[in-house]
Point group: C2
Chain length 253, copies 2
């Protein structure tokens, strides 16, 4: 069973269609697709909703609506409730990153609800009571209240990352071997001399600088190929480009 299929995003008393559309898109961005609405605003702006959901409008089309939160979470094991304010035993709240592994684990057994309140008031105490996990999203005291869809995104994103479903890109080229890097540095050494960038007495000093520049990050085979080819081409050009008589070979800066 896929854990993310067992996650229900439950929105209580949502007021704005634009937020709901953004929620749909954020859910699909994070591999979620089960949306439950408790008593949404009957006058939701459906134009805004579609504009913000774009392709993820399917999430809205497949939503299920309930008259109360208790009914919306009746089949759920873990019920994670979100709140941005203090009081009423909220000191037990943790961030979505802290809860994500436990919630995914719970999703292997029963559906798991993540519950979000209305834009203006959040969840009331009667709704918070139903929670088994309390979420407080980290935010700055200067302006701690997040937009509803931004709050859903941060929670969904943590579940998505914790699920391991995202495969980060890997460098398509493997790290270069020592021996290949040294061949490149040998070529540059010759190029520094042949282009007149420096004379033999300064060669070690300049090469150490170049080695440092090219060792700031781990070079891949492709990186070394580019830098090796460039060294050789510069050396070739220094020897083969026609020059006007008397032109000075010493470097200009």
């Amino acid at each position: 069973m896929r854990e993310l299929d067992q996650i229900r995003i439950v929105c209580v008393n949502t007021l704005y269609g634009g937020n709901l559309g953004s929620i749909c898109r954020a859910m699909q961005n994070c591999g979620l697709h089960r949306l439950r609405l408790v008593n949404p605003n009957p006058d939701l702006d459906r134009v805004e909703l579609r504009k913000m959901a774009l392709r993820a409008i399917t999430v809205y089309d497949e939503r299920v609506e309930y008259p109360t939160l208790a009914e919306a979470v009746a089949d759920c094991g873990a019920v994670a409730v979100t709140s941005g304010i203090d009081g009423f035993h909220r000191d037990q709240a943790k961030g979505p990153r802290d809860w994500a592994p436990e919630l995914l684990d719970a999703a292997r057994h029963k559906p798991v609800a993540l519950v979000f309140g209305a834009e203006d008031k959040g969840l009331c105490n009667d709704d918070l009571k139903l929670g088994t996990h309390w979420i407080r999203i980290p935010s700055h005291p200067e302006y701690s209240s997040l937009n509803l869809s931004q709050a859903v995104l941060l929670c969904a994103h943590e579940l998505f990352l914790a699920s391991g479903e995202f495969e980060p890109r890997e460098e398509s080229s493997p790290p270069a071997k020592h021996e290949f890097r040294e061949r490149m540095f040998d070529a540059w050494e010759q190029t520094l001399l042949d282009t007149g960038f420096c004379k033999t007495d300064k060669l070690d000093h300049m090469m150490m600088g170049l080695r440092r520049v090219l060792s700031r990050g781990a070079l891949t085979e492709n990186d070394v190929k580019i830098m090796l080819g460039l060294a050789r081409q510069c050396k070739w050009a220094a020897q083969n480009t026609p020059r006007s008589p008397g032109e000075n070979l010493s470097r200009e800066r």
Copy 2:
């Protein structure tokens, strides 16, 4: 110096006022306040902008505008560019969580830019060229393209968390000591007997169940106080509540 003060959110060719407003709010939610705009849509919907920014409209009011990205990042050390698509050496991209510590470190020396493209096209290759760090936000292949303000939020949130400025709530009550927990269990043992919940022959079995229930999470002193008080009250009530004659003391379920 505060690292987050050195972060510049740079938005190129932004089209929609609503997104820009959401970006301002997301920035302030994450302790950021320096917004730079490169060639924004001159017909930005300023009503939508204010509606989504709410109190964070100050971030927009204090923005700086530039005609080109090169000018917008001229004073920056690290320049982190975001892209959701493949090709053009993008295999070196990492997620915002991966880069956050390095970007904050760079912010101790020079301003750091996080660059986001337009809603429809993202950053073009000429803009990506200017990047020192390439960001690809983890998202699901089913619908990998994030809303602009959602992308900004995820990057800003990672910087905010990595900055250590957020102080997570702590339980206001310390964990209960073994000896205090045991006093509570002793009280419940007596209560199970005195209320007729079980007889002595089943007492160990029932108490083991109750111990397991009350050990699923670490109890605080306040938790134990509540449960100890409850046990004592039940015991008292069982002994003192007036009863009609012949009423059965055995438990009903």
